[in-house]
Amino acid sequence: MHRRYLIVAAMSAFALVAAAGLGLAFFGVNEGPKLKSGVAAIGGPFTLVDDTGKAVTERTLAGKPYAMYFGYTFCPEVCPTTLFDLSRWIKALGPDADKLNYVFVSVDPGRDTVQLMHTYLSSFDKHIHGYTGTPEQIAKIAKEYRVYYKKIPTDDGGYVMDHSAMIYLMGPDDKFVTLIRYQEDDASAVAKLRKLAAMASAS
């Protein structure tokens, strides 16, 4: 009899712990800042090249908060829309805009050369820098930022990319702060960027 209760009690305790763990993971994913405690951090060391051909690393961005977006120039809808939105939000920030760095990282190093990244970004706000690199370098930064991307072949012998469609907002200490989702409304996105800019002033 006692043994039976013991097992039930043990199972309930286990279920509780598991549920708590799941809850934590759930909130961890949805509420960015909580990621700092426990779950593996977003961000880390990388070596890439910017759209002017200069070598860049995580230290290039150090000391200033930044917004980072992963995409590719072959993208007909989500990437140009996001970069266009970001350009409008940067304008809305006014003088605060200079307190942040903005980076568009290619997940398509096969097609996105330094020159193409530079040409492409000339259509958007000049604050936005383009980073590309070798397939290995891109794989490394994607892993550090927990970005999903995958090459999908098309019938015509070409390919498109599946990729994470959110903007990462990172603090001046290179720690993840929050995300801006695809098609997030202007007020919310600008508020998040303004908060990030305030972190720059405070540091």
Binding site: R111, I152, D156, G158, D162
Partner: protein, 161 residues
């Protein structure tokens, strides 16, 4: 002599009516638009509403345009924060007596291998190929990079969300 104005009017009417004959009688394209492309971009997207006035279901199976090498009918989705884009196998069904809308966040005609940037204010030629209705040729106005729907007059202001 008195017939001259009448004749002229008839000619005018005919001329005005002829573009309508270029379109299929069963398929009608409403509010087409394409997204302007950033410099250097090799792809673009076109959107529209396809109305099928016939009693039979049809299917958009392909498209062609002078401005791009290949055109495909795609569906795009954001699933758990990941953007996925796929060609629709077998084409896009258009129900009998119904319609289907190609719009951002859903279906689009993808233009691959652009031979020039699509600029706002321009019009690009587009030929759509339907399984039953055959070819339908239209002109597609180009809207801003950030446009989320057609900005043609009388369709409300452009909401640049």
């Amino acid at each position: 002599m008195r017939y001259l104005p009448t004749l002229a009017l008839a000619a005018l009417l005919l001329a005005a009516a002829s573009p309508a004959f270029a379109q299929s009688t069963s398929i009608q394209i409403e509010k087409p638009w394409a997204r302007a492309t950033p410099a250097g971009a090799k792809t673009g997207a076109a959107y529209m509403t396809i109305e099928n006035k016939s009693g039979e279901p049809d299917r958009l199976t392909g498209a062609a345009s002078d401005v791009a090498k290949t055109l495909q009918i795609h569906e795009m989705k954001v699933v758990d924060g990941v953007m996925k884009m796929r060609e629709i196998p077998g084409g896009l069904p258009v129900p009998a007596g119904g319609s289907v809308t190609l719009k951002p966040g859903g279906y689009h005609v993808m233009l691959i291998g652009l031979n020039k940037a699509l600029k706002k204010g321009e019009k690009i030629p587009l030929t759509l190929v339907f399984e039953k209705a055959g070819k339908v040729s239209i002109e597609v106005p180009v809207e801003s990079v950030g446009a989320m729907h057609s900005d043609m007059p009388g369709m409300g202001h452009m909401d640049m969300k």
